[in-house]
């Protein structure tokens, strides 16, 4: 399907006219070849030149050998969504070279290993410009000894960094600084990599008089900003949010969240005098256990969390249900990936919305938070601990692989200044005032949230017995129908209270617009870019609502009521959020148009533009719902 975005940029590129700070570059390599360092250097160099940039690593479930792609998008407008069409390709993987070249758009520029012969007659694409570089010969110049075979494989990557720097106008000084930062103090490695980069730089300078028309020029849009992965940001949020117990089981793409937490705690949670830790971190035997540990710790009064992905949530489901009924604070980070357990574990998706919202047996529903940026991973992690303790229930923070594992440009995180909100906990003195009238599940304040005590509270009236739903409001065993009904109805009331406490949506309205786009999490980027393009190119003016949580906040519901047509953008096949919205707001059910991408790749603006425009034409011909799968590039 031809796309409006492609048309505008490709014309500029193909005519030879320079396109400044607006391109998408992809590097194709083999997994485990050390290209990640080179790609990070490339991205950071552009970032250091003040150009807004984003990097997306598309990697296989494999340690070494399978193909991997790294895409860098630079955008002077600040668009950091994945772009469907590639302007520049660095072709280093012989296995995928033919396919890689086939997939770039007309007018693209391809840097490739000379011996692959991609530009040879018969193979060559006429609508693509080639820059063939003898990488394997060049690398021998700096690492010639036979025993350097492994080293050559690693530093060859830095040669393409040099080539690209010359061809696209990236300042070598910034590249050198980025190398030094990346290799932190390992002087020998820094020197070697800088030499490799310079080799590429010089080769390109001497051999390619015509440069790539996609140029990098200095601007001032990244000053003060940081580059960080969402998982690291969330881990930092846990540290500053006062988490004291972490239980986890390794699973891509969430492992780096707990691993970052471990690293931060090694520095920040060790008593300088005793060297003892103010934190307990447990690598569990599985997710069945990690959630049990989190609930046990939450029950005892700690701020506890786990991070996992869809398969882990599936295993945790039984205990999550008990956590809901027994009303135990817990924070779960779901760094979503494509399902099921064996499938595409290294590809992104917003596929666990229904799984988490209604997780577990019986009548259950849970608050979900939707961070869309590293800043929000940081702040929402902290909010999640407050909400978990205030609401005495498991809280889900719905990240995804794209947000969690890719590096994102971000503003430095704000230092939290408020107190921790620990919720309704009665200490010994508090219990002494109410004595036997206290009931663990009594709704004293009319908000559905009861008062709890923590084990160890020195008062003979303080103890209670925790079990699932078979209890009355004094936590005594009961199978009476009315006790059950009273309890689950109070839980509904508590959920209504949650509605007023969860993060509000972010709303951007345009005067006169009657339709709007609604997105959450990482769908924000492709959606907002599409919104700008729809206005600029097609004169379609749309409002925008970024949902930041469930249950639906009143401000989000009111926004929806104000709009005749609401395009709900998400990264799953079935429109999982739309399902929830139609249930919550049945009177608006026909206003929702589901726009979806579910191919494992981060959402691009083209999908959204096509979805909105398709709906417009479908409406004219009497159709109702225009929906896109996302595979039709």
């Amino acid at each position: 399907m031809s796309s409006v975005l492609t048309e505008t940029t490709s014309r500029a590129g193909a005519s030879g006219e320079a396109v400044v700070n607006d391109f998408s570059l992809q590097v194709a390599t083999a997994n485990g070849s050390g290209s990640q360092t080179a790609n990070s250097v490339l991205m950071r160099s552009i970032f250091r030149m003040g150009v807004p940039v984003s990097g997306k690593n598309l990697f296989p479930s494999n340690i070494q050998g399978l193909p991997t792609w790294f895409t860098i998008r630079a955008s002077k407008h600040g668009y950091i969504a994945r772009k469907r069409d590639l302007d520049v390709l660095v072709c280093m993987n012989p296995e995928t070279a033919d396919d890689d070249v086939r997939e770039v758009r007309a007018g693209a520029h391809v840097v490739c290993e000379k011996k692959l012969g991609l530009e040879n007659p018969g193979k060559k694409r006429d609508d693509v410009t080639y820059y063939a570089v003898p990488f394997s010969e060049l690398v021998v110049k700096i690492a010639s000894a036979p025993e350097h075979a492994k080293l050559r494989k690693l530093i060859v990557n830095m040669i393409y960094v040099g080539v690209v720097a010359d061809l696209m106008g990236i300042d070598p000084v910034e590249v050198e600084k980025a190398i030094a930062k990346q290799l932190k103090g390992k002087q020998k490695a820094i020197d070697l990599n800088i030499n490799a980069m310079r080799l590429g730089l010089e080769f390109a300078a001497q051999n390619f008089p015509a440069k790539i028309p996609f140029r990098v020029e200095r601007m001032n849009a990244t000053q003060g900003k940081i580059m960080v992965e969402g998982n690291m940001a969330a881990a930092l949020g846990c540290v500053f949010g006062g988490a004291t117990v972490c239980a986890w089981y390794p699973i891509t793409p969430s492992s780096s969240l707990c691993e970052s937490f471990i690293d931060f705690c090694d520095d920040l949670r060790v008593d300088p005098v005793t060297k003892k830790k103010n934190v307990a971190i447990l690598q569990a035997e599985d997710e069945l256990a990690s959630i049990g540990m989190v609930l046990g710790a939450g029950w005892a009064g700690a701020r506890s969390f786990t991070s996992t992905s869809g398969p882990g949530i599936s295993l945790m489901s039984e205990y999550i249900g008990l956590g809901y009924y027994a009303e135990i604070p817990a924070v779960l980070f779901d760094v979503q990936r494509t399902g099921p357990s064996t499938g595409l574990p290294t590809r992104t998706m917003q596929g666990d919305i229904l799984l988490c919202y209604f997780n577990s047996q019986g009548d259950t529903k849970h608050p979900l938070l939707f961070p869309a940026s590293p800043e929000e991973c940081f702040t929402m992690a902290q909010e999640a601990f407050d909400l978990a303790e205030q609401l005495q229930t498991p809280i889900f923070v719905m990240s995804d692989l794209d947000l969690g594992m890719n590096n994102w440009m971000a503003d430095p995180f704000p230092y939290p200044t408020g107190p921790f909100h620990r919720g309704k906990v009665l200490d010994a003195a508090g219990i002494e005032k109410v004595k036997e009238t206290w009931g663990r599940y009594k709704d004293v304040d009319g908000d559905g949230i009861p008062y709890r005590t923590l084990p160890g509270t020195p008062n003979p009236y303080a103890a209670f017995f925790t079990r699932g739903s078979g209890h009355n409001d004094k936590a005594q065993y009961s199978e009476k129908p009315q006790d059950y009904v009273n309890n689950v109805n109070r839980l509904v009331k508590k959920f209504e209270t949650a509605r007023t406490m969860v993060p509000k949506p972010e709303i951007q309205d345009r005067p006169g617009a009657t339709a709007g786009l609604l997105a959450y999490g990482t769908s924000h980027y492709g959606t907002t870019e599409a919104r700008d393009k729809l206005a600029a190119t097609f004169g379609v003016s749309l409002d925008y609502c970024r949902l930041r949580s469930l249950p639906l906040h009143a401000e989000a519901a009111n926004w929806m009521r104000r709009h005749e047509r609401i395009y709900v953008v998400e990264q799953n096949r079935d429109g999982q959020l739309v399902t929830i919205l139609r249930d919550e707001l049945p009177e608006l059910a026909t206003r929702f148009v589901s726009v979806r991408q579910y191919n494992g790749l981060p959402l691009d603006a083209t999908t959204v533009i096509d979805g909105v425009r398709g709906d417009a034409s479908a409406s004219r011909t009497g159709g109702s719902d225009a929906q896109k799968g996302g595979l039709d590039a």
Binding site: G224, I226, M227, L236, V239, F240, G242, T244, V245, F264, L268, R269, K276, K277, N278, A280, I281, L282, A284, E285, L288, A289, G292, M293, V294, L295, G296, A297, G298, W299, A300, A302, E318, L322, P412, Y415, P416, F420, T453, L454, P455, G456, T457, P458, P460, Y461, A462, A463, F464, F465, T466, R467, G468, N472, K474, Q476, Y477, S478, E479, K480
Partner: protein, 356 residues
């Protein structure tokens, strides 16, 4: 409203002065629980009574105890002892993870977990295995009757090969011996007892409470309804006939200088870090509960001889507990002030700087 009779409910602190109190001045009543709803004559009720006695004798503050269980008849029993302690009835087989989270969050609590053979040896064997590996300070009791009683008498994984079900079906699978498994996994306190041997059970429980690590106590506890018939190898009759104590045990807690019933003759003493001492005298054999390989060999041999070996089969009080392995402070992590948990502004600034 009135709850069903087995509820622990809220403890009514006994108003009348008790005639006898323990070392912290509490009467036995402070350690009691709700009324049992198990079958009359159930071995589990005997264990419950010994748990009450053990915490009373050890003078543990009831509010410092956390009780954990999974699913099954055994897992109902925490409601029948220590009403002044907090209880957590978890999901089937996964009590160890709840206990682990709670006790690393507050290591000052005394944890006791009650499980059954179905809970431990089948659905929960993964959590049991890792609990033992971690050496979490927890008294872990398996109330072992060889059947799933709540679901009406199916074999569990501890049922002996050739054992007969009430309806006549014969068990065709090799039993899991939770004690030899626990020793193999590095267990630091592994015992087997019999609910018909109250004296031994009481001593083992007191020592388990003093032990700073996981104490696995497999208690043969006959099910009077589904597994007390001819052909059962977990009936009262069979267990009484086949129980073979490997030693007499005396326990001198740190707060007592001597014990009235120290076994006569030479004893092997094992000291706990807190000063408590276990004293062993072999019965009919030379059994060293600190010799891991010999212990395993003896247990394996007992299977062929159809002996139910009881006693503290293996003990090693020197191994670090999970709290120590984690390097935590040992203080509750639950009520640390914000200043101890939230790093300063400069720490965040420094991290932000490193990400530029």
């Amino acid at each position: 409203m009135s709850a069903s009779p087995n509820t622990p409910g809220l403890p009514a602190p006994s108003a009348a002065p008790a005639s006898r109190t323990n070392r912290i001045g509490l009467p036995k009543a402070s350690y009691e629980g709700g009324k049992s709803t198990l079958c009359l004559g159930c071995g589990h009720d005997v264990i419950t009574k010994q748990i009450i006695n053990a915490f009373y004798e050890m003078g543990i503050e009831p509010h410092k105890v956390a009780k954990f269980s999974g699913i099954g008849c055994s897992s109902k029993t925490p409601a029948y002892f220590l009403n002044r302690a907090w209880g957590f009835n978890g999901v089937h087989g996964r009590m160890p993870s709840i206990a682990t989270g709670a006790l690393v969050a507050d290591p000052t609590l005394h944890g006791i977990g009650i499980s059954g053979d179905g809970d431990t040896a089948s659905i929960g064997i993964g959590q049991f295995v890792h609990l033992v590996r971690r050496n979490l300070p927890l008294v872990y009791i398996i109330e072992d009757n060889g059947v799933y009683a709540l679901t009406k008498g199916q074999f569990s994984a501890t049922a002996d090969l050739g054992a007969k079900q009430k309806g006549g079906a014969v068990n065709e699978f090799i039993p899991i011996d939770c004690c030899s498994l626990a020793i193999e996994l590095g267990g630091t306190f592994v015992a087997r007892s019999f609910s018909g041997d109250m004296k031994q059970l009481q001593t083992i429980l007191q020592a388990a409470i003093a032990h700073n690590g996981t104490s696995v106590i497999d208690v043969i506890s006959p099910c009077v309804t589904f597994n007390d018939h001819e052909g059962s190898t977990k009936s009262y009759k069979y267990s009484k006939e086949h129980e073979t104590p490997v030693h007499e045990i005396g326990f001198v807690p740190f707060f007592e200088e001597t014990l009235a019933q120290i076994p006569v003759g030479d004893t092997k003493d094992v000291a706990f870090p807190d000063g408590s001492v276990l004293k062993f005298r072999g019965v009919g054999r030379d059994y060293d509960p600190t010799d891991k390989e010999k212990a395993l060999k003896t247990i394996h041999e007992s299977h062929g001889k159809k002996e139910i070996l009881t006693g503290i089969l293996y003990i090693d009080p020197s191994k670090p507990s999970l709290t120590e392995t984690l390097g935590s402070t040992g203080e509750p992590l639950t009520n640390l002030p914000l200043e101890k948990l939230r790093p300063g502004r400069e720490a965040l600034d420094e991290i932000m700087e490193s990400l530029r």
